[in-house]
């Protein structure tokens, strides 16, 4: 079946199987490998993408569900190749990751949060990150990274 949507601002037109998840389609057909496959059942948050600006699980969507006007954003879409977004800067500065597997999901979740709430409280950060699991950091550095990203973003705009 034919599917059309926008990925990081560029139009995608492809043939897909009706039972192909958006996650597998992104990783295996389009080689967008920042999107990670963790639990593959909606629990872990490693496959988080932004669908029209909102964080959702790509493992729970079928690729064929995407429509022409749908905008899918992955980490690749946050900055130009070779450059870093302020969120990525903040995660580097505050050691918001160790193994890095959950990081793309964490970064996209940060983007969605800061777009809606430029100055989130720690409680708001905890609420927003309920569905993104990290087995390395214990979350403290991630919260600090989000707070730092908010500062950097405010400074640049």
């Amino acid at each position: 079946m034919k599917v059309q949507f926008k990925l990081n601002g560029r139009a995608v037109t492809e043939e897909v199987e009706p039972y192909e998840t958006l996650l597998d389609f992104l990783r295996e057909r389009l080689q967008v490998i920042s999107v990670k496959k963790g639990c593959d059942e909606g629990d872990c948050g490693a496959c988080t993408i932004l669908l029209n600006g909102k964080p959702v699980r790509s493992c729970l969507l079928l690729a064929v569900q995407m429509r022409e006007k749908d905008e899918v954003t992955t980490v690749e879409g946050l900055s130009k190749p070779g450059e870093r977004s302020v969120i990525q800067e903040a995660f580097l500065e505050k050691y918001g990751f160790q193994c890095g597997f959950c990081t793309p999901g964490m970064i996209l979740t940060t983007k969605a949060l800061l777009d809606a709430k430029p100055k989130p409280t720690v409680e708001e950060i905890k609420d927003q990150f309920e569905g993104n699991l990290c087995r390395c950091t214990g979350y403290q550095q991630i919260i600090e990274s989000v707070l730092r990203a908010a500062e950097l973003k405010a400074g640049r705009s």
Partner: protein, 296 residues
């Protein structure tokens, strides 16, 4: 033990663009089709081979199936309304705050961005967190097929785990929540604070006049084969003085009504005990400290 996650099985996909078309497809495929709303339950179950589908009927391209509207008989919440939309709705916060409260502690934000109210009800998990609030608000659901529609009170909707009175050719198109004056509250006990399934969930609605319970409804989740109303507790308190002593006595009765199972999340005994503890707490809240339906 849960089955392992595997790639999705081969299946066909149709995306009708009208409700009429969707109902015809449901009739055509009968039990062989599954309806796809948010996919947060359907997709993992298909991957684990816990359910089968030859065809998936995607409702997401049907205009008009989502949205929250105030009508004479109450709030109408469309089948495809996402849990996140309901949580963010001013109308819901004002007219049905107990539902707002429950959705706030359900799953996680990305799941709530896709998951729908109708999906939570039709999945019919005994632990569905939207059910206790809707039960105490006397909500009903609209079921539709090609022949027509019927409205079923939510208290008659659930039949057992993953089982409802919805027929294979019917679709739940709308949830109707009567608006009423009184206080309501929702409490959930999980194994941790966030992103967790309920071990026990309770919701209560009460109107106290002249120091007495004039109207009282209590519902519980995750402690019986379906979400349940606790008629014994309700009857014990109806017309009685709204005080701590009466509440504590009535809350004991809930232990006779729940039929919990023991599983990985909690033992049967713990669920029964906590049903009573949380009943007492939620009733204390509606007797003074709960959300005031008309004042928020």
């Amino acid at each position: 033990m849960e089955a392992g996650v595997r790639p999705l099985p081969k299946m066909n996909y149709v995306a009708p663009s009208s409700l009429k078309e969707a109902l015809h497809l449901l009739k055509k495929y009968k039990g062989k089709a599954r309806v796809l709303a948010g996919g947060t339950d359907l997709i993992p179950k298909l991957k684990k081979r816990m359910i089968k589908a030859e065809v998936v009927i995607d409702l997401n391209r049907i205009p008009g199936l989502s949205g929250i509207r105030m009508q004479k008989d109450g709030l109408h919440i469309g089948a495809l309304t996402r849990l996140a939309e309901i949580k963010e709705s001013r109308l819901v916060r004002e007219k049905a705050p107990v539902l707002f409260q429950a959705i706030g502690v359900m799953a996680s934000p990305p799941i709530r961005n896709r998951g729908t109210l109708a999906g939570n009800l039709c999945t019919a998990s005994p632990a569905a967190d939207t059910a206790p609030p809707l039960l105490v608000l006397n909500a009903s659901v609209r079921l539709q097929n090609t022949d027509g529609k019927r409205v079923v009170p939510l208290s008659e909707f659930f039949r057992g785990p993953q089982d409802t009175v919805r027929r294979a050719d019917e679709m739940l198109t709308e949830v109707i929540v009567p608006v009423q004056k009184g206080r309501s509250a929702f409490l959930k006990l999980g194994r941790r604070k966030a992103f967790t399934l309920s071990v026990v969930s309770v919701a209560a609605f009460a109107r106290v006049r002249g120091g007495k319970f004039e109207d009282l409804r209590l519902a519980l989740g995750a402690v019986a084969p379906t979400p349940i109303r606790s008629r014994k507790v309700e009857e014990a308190l109806q017309g009685k003085e709204a005080n701590e002593e009466n509440i504590a006595r009535a809350a004991e009765l809930v232990k006779e009504e729940v039929k919990p199972i023991g599983d990985v999340r909690a033992s049967e005994e713990y669920r029964r005990e906590m049903s009573s503890v949380f009943t007492r707490r939620v009733l204390a809240q509606v007797n003074g400290r709960g959300y005031n339906e008309s004042a928020i």
